[in-house]
Amino acid sequence: MAQIKLDKVRKTFGKVVAVRDIELLIEDREFLVLLGPSGCGKTTTLRCIAGLERVDSGRVYIGERDVTDLPPAKRGIAMVFQSYAVFPHMTVAKNIAFGLRMQHVPKEQIKKAVQEVAELLQIEELLDRYPAQLSGGQRQRVAVARAIVMKPEVLLMDEPLSNLDALLRLQMRAELKRLHKEIKATTVYVTHDQVEALSLGERIAVMKDGEIVQHDTPLRVYDEPANVFVGGFIGTPPMNFLRAQVQLGQDGAMLNVGDFQLEPPGELEALLRERADQEVIVGVRAENIEVELEPTPEGVRSQVLVVEPLGAQQLLTVQVGEDVLKVATRADVAIEPGQAIWLKFSPEKIRLFDEQTGDALQPEPGRDGS
């Protein structure tokens, strides 16, 4: 059982608070991604779990054990570093065997385990080579092999793919997903790449300034961001944000955005009635805006500024009144810059955020945040 629990963990470096009293529960065998921009504290959090950083306050639990005062060697973890940290003065085989040697596993067993894991990662022919003779991708596999040969309860990965080129990264992503099923370890994966996070994670913990702002499944983080930051950080392109004023009419609450009006999601009616004439932030994703080439009554007129063909879609930058939006649409429709198009917004696809805190407005009245 390798559940990981962080209980009000805090880590400061001098005056900078890197990890701010975070509480996190990671289920046994879960693949959790710590996602956030640089400096948000994700790597520090990982290192606190590893034992490479001593927490200033709070406790760390792995399984049922309180490991807060234990060195990394005694925590039952294995780690893959961003730079791979493959020992240059040892062969690949010796690298992989290192951890097992530290545990005084008998030589025969070591040999077998090394061979097995090398085959799993398809690096059997490289066993007698030295790291200097390997490519970056190969070294990365060695680093992963070295970690999983330990059959750890907890596998920690610090941006393991960030130094690979785009194609290799894609390949390795799929491989890591496959490996996770095989090795059955609780995995904590740090990245700043939200695409990686969405693809790999069973759950994602989005971090900002040392705190976890949302901890949810990838789908929910994408569709129901807890605040403006998450909405803007996740998704390519980021969520569109507009300022709107709540107007109460006979048909219910409406959102005034510049010259046009949007119909808000039905479940937030009650909440909006309490915010009459106040400002809210409207968030809508590029692919959730429908494009009509002919004028329609429910549509909002907009002018196309830039057309970016992206292969499977086109990404349009359009101007609506004073706002500029990104809209994604099919690739087989011919659209020119300068052209006028009409945008349709459906209420279920709109998200509303508090104008001051940036937190998402939730259906239950009086409660904010995720």
Partner: protein
């Protein structure tokens, strides 16, 4: 190639050649002088190349009173110095390379300040201290002061050596089951070894060359430089030639082996 560029290149190589000769020629000369047969040493005018190469001069020098024992003494002192310096300095270098702690800058500053202490200021009082401790006129005493002189350099050099070993290699070893010490011995040390070897050779050269303290702190157990210095007034010319060459020899050999680390070390050691 334009005339201008040609002149430029000529000038460049000309200057390079001139400076190279300036450095090399004296070395070659003393080498030649040391292998000139005895009769020709006093010959004048001196031809550049001796009529025959002979080891007479060198063997006379080596056989002269006190030379061989003092050479042995120099070697002993240098070895002791290396041992002390690395044993004391390498941990400090590691601490400076890996940890951020209060007092770090103060320590660094302290190291730099030691450069302002002139050797006479250190050596003279130590006469009194060493007599009190009973190590005046011993090799140990000289090794102690040589260690003191080499220590600041050693700390700076080992710091840069350990900085050159990436921290995550150690951390990786620790996640694989090593204690901090284990990680140091199994991962850091093997990778730092070439640098440490260079640091050791550097220390050897410093100790081998040191004159003032060695001359002051020894009477009968002289090191080679001390021996040569104290006999300068009475020593014949051949002694001076051969002595000079003999003193240069180990340094030349070590410099050859260390050349890759040369700039890194001396540059680091001498910089603020």
């Amino acid at each position: 190639m334009s005339m201008r560029r040609l002149w430029g290149k000529l000038l460049l190589y000309g200057v390079v050649a001139a400076i190279s000769l300036w450095v090399l020629v004296p070395l070659v000369l003393i080498g030649l002088a040391s292998f000139t047969p005895r009769e020709e040493i006093y010959r004048w005018p001196k031809p550049f190349l001796p009529s025959r190469f002979s080891t007479e001069t060198m063997s006379f020098f080596l056989g002269a009173h006190g030379v061989l024992p003092s050479t042995l003494n120099s070697i002993w002192v240098a070895l002791l110095t290396i041992g002390f310096t690395l044993a004391i300095g390498a941990p400090a270098g590691y601490a400076l390379a890996r940890f951020v702690f209060r007092g770090r800058e103060a320590f660094r500053l302290g190291i730099l300040i030691t450069k302002m202490f002139p050797i006479p200021l250190l050596a003279i009082p130590l006469i009194v201290t060493f007599i009190k401790w009973g190590i005046y006129d011993t090799l140990l005493g000289v090794a102690f002061i040589h260690t003191a002189m080499a220590l600041p350099f050693a700390v700076l050099i080992t710091t840069s050596i350990f900085v050159g070993v990436p921290r995550d290699l150690e951390e990786s070893a620790m996640t694989l089951g090593c204690s901090r010490l284990g990680a140091f011995l199994r991962v850091v040390l093997p990778l730092a070894l070439p640098g440490l070897a260079a640091a050791a050779m550097f220390t050897f050269v410093v100790s081998w060359n040191e004159v003032f303290a060695a001359a002051i702190l020894t009477l009968s157990n002289r090191t080679l430089p001390a021996q040569i210095l104290t006999s300068l007034e009475v020593s014949p010319v051949y002694f001076k030639f051969a002595g000079g060459f003999f003193m240069i020899l180990p340094a030349l050999i070590f410099m050859f082996f260390m050349r890759r680390y040369l700039l890194q070390m001396w540059g680091v050691a001498a910089e603020r």
